[in-house]
Symmetry: C2
Subunit: 199 residues, 2 copies
Amino acid sequence: METRSPQKRRLATHQRLVDAAQDIVTESGFAALRVEDVVARAKVAKGTFFSHFEDKDRLMALLIGREMDQILAQIAQAPPPDRVDDFAPAIAPLLAYMGQNRVVFDIVIRFSGAAAIETTELISVNFMEQVVLFAQWVERLQPNTIRDDVDTTLLAEGIQAFIIQAIALEFCALHNSVNVEDRLAPYLRAWLTAPRSAQ
Amino acid sequence: METRSPQKRRLATHQRLVDAAQDIVTESGFAALRVEDVVARAKVAKGTFFSHFEDKDRLMALLIGREMDQILAQIAQAPPPDRVDDFAPAIAPLLAYMGQNRVVFDIVIRFSGAAAIETTELISVNFMEQVVLFAQWVERLQPNTIRDDVDTTLLAEGIQAFIIQAIALEFCALHNSVNVEDRLAPYLRAWLTAPRSAQ
DNA sequence: GACAAAAAATGACCGTGGTCAATTACAAAA
DNA sequence: TTTTGTAATTGACCACGGTCATTTTTTGTC
């Protein structure tokens, strides 16, 4: 399998496309992102766009993934939560970003586990990094504050499941009075502490 | 607000559109569903389609919702699970249907909580019925087999969160060797039993 | 039955994502 | 420098979802 490294010109074009797209999103939001506008701003033909990105969604996934990486990095370098009830606030910036917009949320869902093998999918990688971080948080508080009867990775993935759940409900007409963070909190409390045995 | 009941003709047209769509889906799957084909088969103009359905997604949501209703009804009339480990198998048919296809899953996600107020959205209603059913299952096994320290509705909604999680991972290249049911099981075990206290 | 008003249906038209055969720019070999 | 194979780009074109002014059908009233 022979793979040549791309020419400088190609890299420059790629950068121009990404920059143009980012500008449009910053100015008018994801919903207003049009391929034709992107190529016009980047001064390239439409076909060029699709030689750089499989489809429009991949470009959006790239922009969203970059942003999520930054947000996650900031979360990771902040002090870790000391109690279960501090988890939701700690995650809040990520929640806010992913739930800002239907379009963004859909892309996140679509690419979150999409192709965990491809390291080119930033969102997918980001989700795996989230799991690692959450698992660290969990281990740090085990076994006193957090249950230790379940694999930490499973606990971390469960947190992700509840994050998605909480954001999805955000778009539900019935629940939009409560904010995402508060909606997430009860799930995490139940999931992570598991106070009393049933049996 | 004056709302006239529709003419017979309109109802007939609606039915023809739905039937045509269902036929196409049955023959070629959701991914192959094209509005132009639907209207051709139903012998109506394109504009008529959009006077009956806000967009193509609503039609798909209708078809999917109908099917999910049938599946859920069958699940509901089967004997309820007696142990936590029987939950995933009991839910399996629903898992299989929602995870059959990317297109289906995306529609389900999009409309699951979409507008819980509108009773016209079958999927949304179906999800609420799922919660009711799961809550019944949970209550039946409390407090011996299932934890009773958490609101049953929250437990039921949590099950939904894990269902989504398990199906989403189904589309992930890394995990597609394990089947959905087996992927769901460990989450449910941890979520519902919560065997030992940490504190 | 003739007429008016409302409901239903029509199809030409548009916007936008995506394709691909043809063209141009580049880099290494001669 | 010229040649030549390949990478990169181009833009006319297509597919398909969705719109809306216009036309046809139905219904209620006299």
